[in-house]
Symmetry: C2
Subunit: 331 residues, 2 copies
């Protein structure tokens, strides 16, 4: 299989799950000390992950949490961020300027910052209050933080049972999803490699990944135009520009917002002959209870899109690591 | 001038501003009774207006307020909505199903609902706790509510001076903007009437209107494809698909996020020869103090896009009131 190192991917997810002890230690100490609210701070792809953590918490939690875009925080500000705020951030490079400045501003306002900064020698890694350095798996890291906060608030009593299942099965399950999705990924890439624009639709914890897949993968890495939209919002404008040949892909997850995407799936065949449904339900997660699948839907569809990416990169002769403009000159 | 009834538009804005007495009475009573938080609830275009109210309040306010999408509220829920929550909604038709159900759910959770339902005979108008029926001017209504809450919290001491200027000048100022923008609107419509896709970028209180202009006007009413993006997010993916001929329009406002859009304006000429800047600063608002212009930027750019719409509708022989699918069949 193209661009697929099974053992490396298994180790990557297992290593991320193994961070849980450290996460629990930090979150438990924060809860013991007391806190007022939780701010998920991000920009671009990390902002999208924040949206996923937010919708995940909304299903269960009465805690005070919110998402803030780092650039908006630096200009408009947010008076909720202050002493007793816990800011959670993630950064692969540790050098994204909005994140560095955003963390400094939040710290100056009295907030404590928990950072997943992959490169722990960067300035950003040095200035956060709690640093965990481990590559990739951003959503998994964020959700482990969210889940521990909810567990401590008595909102996630199934926590131990849930993470036992993840520790034992998730890493292998996700590579099995990739294997099961490879033929689909190749066919999809062949069909859509010349799209002048591609529409991606999703809801729930799929919305953040839909937004990020469209912008951070197709636009940034494949240089193919996209629009992403929330499944609920699709019906309030965007539907009008869909016709027979419009390429539309709907990501359907298994969390509480599943019905919003199902509505799009029901609508599309009436007006469009070029749509695709990527439904996490179509993929087995051995050893994971039905009740927990909703929390993991975005990891399943990400495993599917990994297969699209691998083939699209090859078909289009477009290395995903090259950038036209991003960080190529000052702007 | 095409599709322009000066007196009618002046009367419309003056009438909206004249709702302030009623709004103050309702909000003052709510503040006297006490409340916990404010939920701006919307979907589609009204969701976009909620985002504008939110960013407007963020600049000044320490109150507890947030935006909720009605369809997401109906599925995922939001535990912040409960007794002592004030929900603010707006609806032209009063029949948008997500809004009717969303208001019912919020009421059942104990919230009080303030509704600007234009048709006060509809079910939605009947089930809100406080109803104000007056057509159009949604942003103005929402901002008057936000401003009164902030005034009562001691966060808007310039309130009386500000609204005196608006009452005396805004209605005429906005029609003057339309007149000043008409030639531009015609040229823009001629240049972009055949765009296969058009990109709209904005930040601050321009973001909600950018999102809504792209989706509720170009997609829904002109049937032209668009993508809208926040100016800050533009640099984290979308920039890569911009080339010489890509049609991009940046809306630049005068609130705290102006610098985020200015950054896009500075970047574009390096890589694109088909971009347009619509800057509220280019239009006079006689009798409005410099310090208040940021609050009104989105009304200025809306006056400009009204002129684009009038000409685009005529050039493309596409009546803005027709819909392909929206409410044409069950979905």
């Amino acid at each position: 299989m193209l661009k697929f190192d099974e053992q490396k991917q298994i180790d990557s997810v297992k290593g991320a799950l193994a961070l849980r002890g450290k996460i629990e230690e930090i979150v438990d100490q924060i809860c013991k000390d007391g806190f007022k609210n939780i701010c998920w701070l991000g920009i671009g792809g990390t902002y999208a992950s924040c949206l996923q953590a937010e919708v995940h918490m909304k299903e269960k939690s009465g805690l005070d949490f919110f998402v803030e875009n780092a650039a908006e925080y630096l200009t408009t500000g947010n008076k909720k961020v202050g002493a007793d705020t816990i800011v959670v951030v993630s950064s692969v490079t540790g050098s994204t300027i909005e994140m560095v400045e955003g963390v400094k501003k939040a710290s100056a306002a009295g907030a404590k910052v928990l950072g997943f900064i992959d490169v722990d020698t960067t300035e950003l890694a040095q200035i956060v209050d709690y640093e965990i350095a481990y590559p990739g798996n951003e959503q998994l890291k964020f959700f482990m933080v969210a889940d521990r906060f909810m567990y401590n608030a008595g909102e996630f009593p199934e926590y131990d049972r849930y993470y036992k299942e993840l520790d034992e099965n998730l890493a292998v399950d996700l590579v099995e999803v990739e294997k099961a999705a490879d033929a689909f990924g190749e066919a999809f890439a062949k069909k859509h490699c010349n799209d002048s624009i591609h529409y991606f639709v999703g809801a729930g914890n799929q919305y953040g990944s839909t937004y990020s897949y469209a912008m951070c993968y197709w636009e940034e890495q494949h240089w193919i135009r996209t629009k992403s939209i929330h499944s609920a919002e699709f019906f309030h404008g965007m539907l009008e520009i869909v016709d027979r040949d419009t390429p539309v892909t709907v990501f359907v997850g298994e969390d509480a917002q599943r019905s919003l995407s199902e509505r799009v799936v029901k609508f599309l065949p009436r007006v469009c002959a070029n749509y695709t449904v990527i439904d996490s339900k179509d993929y087995e997660l051995k050893g994971i209870s039905e009740e927990f699948r909703g929390n993991l839907s975005h990891l399943v569809t990400h495993a599917v899109t990994q297969r699209i990416d691998a083939h699209l990169e090859q078909i289009n002769c477009h290395p995903m690591e090259i950038r036209r403009y991003y960080r190529q000159f000052d702007y």
